[in-house]
């Protein structure tokens, strides 16, 4: 693990890794997003109970699954940073936090939009909705703690501690909220009673989940690259990178003129 990890403590190597991975994530993610969304929204059959409204599942479920995954990703990055003192890990943590917050927000909004036709209200204090809302606050907390420090290195460490506290709390929050709700109103409103969805509905959903993971991976890589450049802006490797880019642009425009 250590041998594999430690070259990427060097910002330059991490940048190059992002550069190699980015096209794969972006192209595969973009393609599967198009395929999955079109398949789900246009081709898959309508639900016999929920009608066409169920199609929001193809946006809601991927975002809901990803939101917690991204929080875990953030906490793992924070853990690596705190334990092995890898400063690029903190940059990764900072890069993933806004993506996670946004995806959590999307899952809340789509959840509300789905709740209106199905349950008749925009918002229900259902256990899942509530824990999702708290998850968004946890993301925002980590982000705003990082932003309040002038020194990004120090801010990264502080936000990392908070992310670790949050990840320990996340299961407690999840189960306590579930328990709280079941205490108060007995039956849960929305439950995926049949995990055995019809295959024509399940396949586009799986494609959508994978595509959302890939696309948010691509956004994360882009953000990480930006973060690396911003922090290392005066280092020789960044200067060399910019000069190289300028040169290739110049030669390209020269070729165009000819």
């Amino acid at each position: 693990m250590w041998k594999w990890l430690h070259p990427y403590a060097k910002p330059e190597r991490s940048y190059q890794l992002c550069q190699t991975l980015l096209p794969w994530f972006a192209v595969l993610g973009g393609l599967s997003l198009l395929v999955g969304t079109f398949w789900g929204l246009a081709i898959a059959p309508a639900d016999y109970q929920q009608g066409e409204a169920f199609r929001i599942i193809y946006i809601h479920v991927p975002s809901a699954i990803l939101s917690k995954t991204l929080y875990c990703t953030m906490a793992v990055a924070a853990f690596i940073g705190l334990v092995w003192q890898v400063k690029t890990a903190f940059m990764a943590m900072v890069a993933v936090a806004p993506v996670g917050a946004m995806i959590t927000f999307v899952s809340l909004i789509t959840g509300a939009a789905w709740g209106k036709p199905m349950w008749g209200t925009w918002w229900e204090w259902d256990a899942r909705l509530t824990s999702q809302l708290i998850l968004m606050f946890l993301f925002i907390g980590v982000m705003s703690l990082y932003k309040s420090f002038e020194d990004p290195q120090q801010g990264g460490k502080a936000a990392g501690v908070m992310a670790m506290v949050g990840i320990i709390n996340l299961p407690i929050i999840h189960y306590s909220v579930e328990w709280w709700n079941s205490l108060h109103q007995g039956a849960t409103l929305l439950k995926m009673d049949k995990p055995s969805m019809a295959t024509e509905m399940l396949w586009p959903l799986l494609v959508c989940i994978v595509s959302w993971a890939l696309v948010s991976g691509a956004i994360f890589l882009l953000r990480l690259q930006n973060e690396l450049l911003r922090r290392e802006i005066k280092r020789p490797w960044v200067v060399a990178l910019v000069l190289n880019n300028n040169e290739s642009n110049n030669t390209a425009s020269a070729v165009n003129k000819e």
């Binding site: 946890l138 703690l145 309040s148 506290v165 306590s176 909220v177 709280w180």
Partner: protein, 221 residues
């Protein structure tokens, strides 16, 4: 243990010298509780239903006010640096600080709790449950809160940020505590909820001092 005891004594003495600052969170706590009957009406049965929740929310908010003070003065006059350089382990020092916070800003609230029970028309069973949850749960507020305070002590605008960081984390405690009192109101056993709170407290007691120590190091840079 002696240096820790000395530190505890020093902090308590300092806290009692600044009586106004000591009293403010208590007054705030009372004020928040007073607002609720005015806002929702003086109906006894309504107040009894929302009472435990109101008391707990007010306790969380006013503990946040007191928390801000936890490391601030020591950080500003440099004695925190001295404490960190001393041979006493930093987690123990952190634990002493947390104890001071609990004794000075939370115990007064617990002492006031019978009055609140009267204000909000809690039944006797509910009051005992409330007292048990407060005794077990509030040290958790101090312990976990101190982590965030230690992280934000170097920042000038800690207050709102502190609430933003801590309130989501206190939610499980709020849920267990109020559901214990609700069970007591229906004359059901509530040991399960108390056991949950105690488990969280022990868990935090084991880990939080180290997290606070690390956070202080981050803040001192």
């Amino acid at each position: 243990m002696t240096p820790v005891m000395a530190l505890l004594k020093r902090d308590l003495t300092l806290a009692f010298h600044q009586r106004a600052e000591l009293l403010q969170p208590v007054i705030f706590f009372l004020l928040v509780i007073t607002l609720f009957p005015l806002a929702v009406g003086p109906n006894a049965s309504t107040l009894q239903i929302i009472g435990p929740g109101v008391i707990w929310v007010a306790a969380i908010l006013s503990s946040l006010l007191g928390l801000e003070r936890l490391f601030r003065d020591d950080y500003q006059d440099g004695s925190l640096e001295h404490l960190m350089l001393s041979t006493t382990p930093l987690p123990l020092i952190a634990l002493a600080k947390v104890t001071t916070h609990w004794l000075t800003s939370i115990v007064p609230l617990i002492v006031l709790s019978p009055l609140l029970a009267i204000f909000l028309h809690l039944s006797e069973a509910m009051y005992w449950a409330l007292l048990a949850t407060l005794l077990l749960g509030t040290p958790l507020l101090s312990l976990v809160g101190a982590i965030a305070v230690a992280l934000t002590v170097g920042l000038n605008r800690g207050g709102v940020l502190l609430a933003l960081l801590l309130v989501p984390i206190f939610i499980p405690l709020l849920i267990f505590a109020t559901s214990a009192v609700d069970s007591a109101a229906m004359e059901l056993p509530y040991t399960a909820q108390l056991a949950f709170i105690a488990a969280m407290l022990l868990f935090a007691l084991a880990l939080a001092p180290f997290a606070i120590a690390y956070a202080l190091k981050v803040s001192q840079n």
